[in-house]
Symmetry: C2
Amino acid sequence: MRLNTISKIKEHNVKIAILGGTGNEGFGLGFRWAAAGHEIIIGSRLAEKGAQAAKDMLAKLAGGVIVSGTDNLTATQQADLVVLSVPYSAQEKTLATVAEALAGKLLVTVVVPLGEKAARVWRPPSGLSAAEEAQQQVGDQARVVAAFQNISAHHLLDADHDIECDVLICGEKGADKDLVAQLCADAGMRGVNAGPLQNASVVEGLTSVLVGINIRHKIKNAGIRITGI
Amino acid sequence: MRLNTISKIKEHNVKIAILGGTGNEGFGLGFRWAAAGHEIIIGSRLAEKGAQAAKDMLAKLAGGVIVSGTDNLTATQQADLVVLSVPYSAQEKTLATVAEALAGKLLVTVVVPLGEKAARVWRPPSGLSAAEEAQQQVGDQARVVAAFQNISAHHLLDADHDIECDVLICGEKGADKDLVAQLCADAGMRGVNAGPLQNASVVEGLTSVLVGINIRHKIKNAGIRITGI
């Protein structure tokens, strides 16, 4: 298990809001980041659901971690960095709710657009990636980085289980991607710079390819590794 | 090196035309398939260039292999299976040249559409993958399978070098993809069923992501592995 210990990472801990953090993927990432010493604020449409998820997460973790839960807007206001982990169908509405509070913050989107058949690559009608749509919606106020699209939620809550999948990170600024790569490492994964935000369409689509491989091989955690580096 | 020996594979050898087989990628694949006992017909726009490439390939191989070279149409007429390995800008014209001779044959396309900046994902203006465009163009006459888009040509001619990259195979029929997976194995690679032909857009785009990783890491052969299977 390659999670950093709390003591090692205290000097650079980050206040992370996870919008949609009650879902498996956001909850699993929050669990690993909390264990690594980051402060986690679970956001939900309803504050009570966020608070309940925080209780559930605390019950799974040792003492000394900082986890709370509230509604998405309050979570965004309290955080340094915001993770968007909602179904694609809820992306636009969720971002509209928190737009002003995002100003000056980094928005890390985990969103994967999926069509009726999840194993067939599907793109939003705009022809853009979900990540580019998010960037268009928030405008200059916040910078969007896409990451974690290919990570199966399946093993995130099992802290002793290495995640056999690299995280492809797409965004415009190297420094933003370096920070997200650190968050990958803190969660026991390797982050790889996958180029500009427009490349997110490939990373999002790759999730459908992996879903199909899961189905055909009767497994739950097909992933990818970048080789040669 | 996991290439099959000629003796092992004789019972299922295939006559393979490689359109654009004078280029690095097609030439490298042909080299590995010839070594594995398949009959290779290198196609080129000009018959003389195809013939010259065949001579060059024979000079790199031990005796007992079958390699010839000619123009793309003649190569297609002579083959059981046709590999399209031309730049995207030449795809439509090349297919138009050979369309009738393709009837009833499997067309394996290696084509990757690349924009001005190869490390930025670029798609044809139609919004389709190059592979789907190829299928539209040839119609019901031939079935198209996409494969080998992510394989760097760099090590193909070095028969002692394992290729550290899986081949994602997209197509409509399982039997076609099984055959292509066998061709992957014969060339020392693992083929993975990546779903229907529409998923080829992701596999094609992944090449741009890998090109960017090559540039950033100053390497020539970044690849991907599917994990968990």
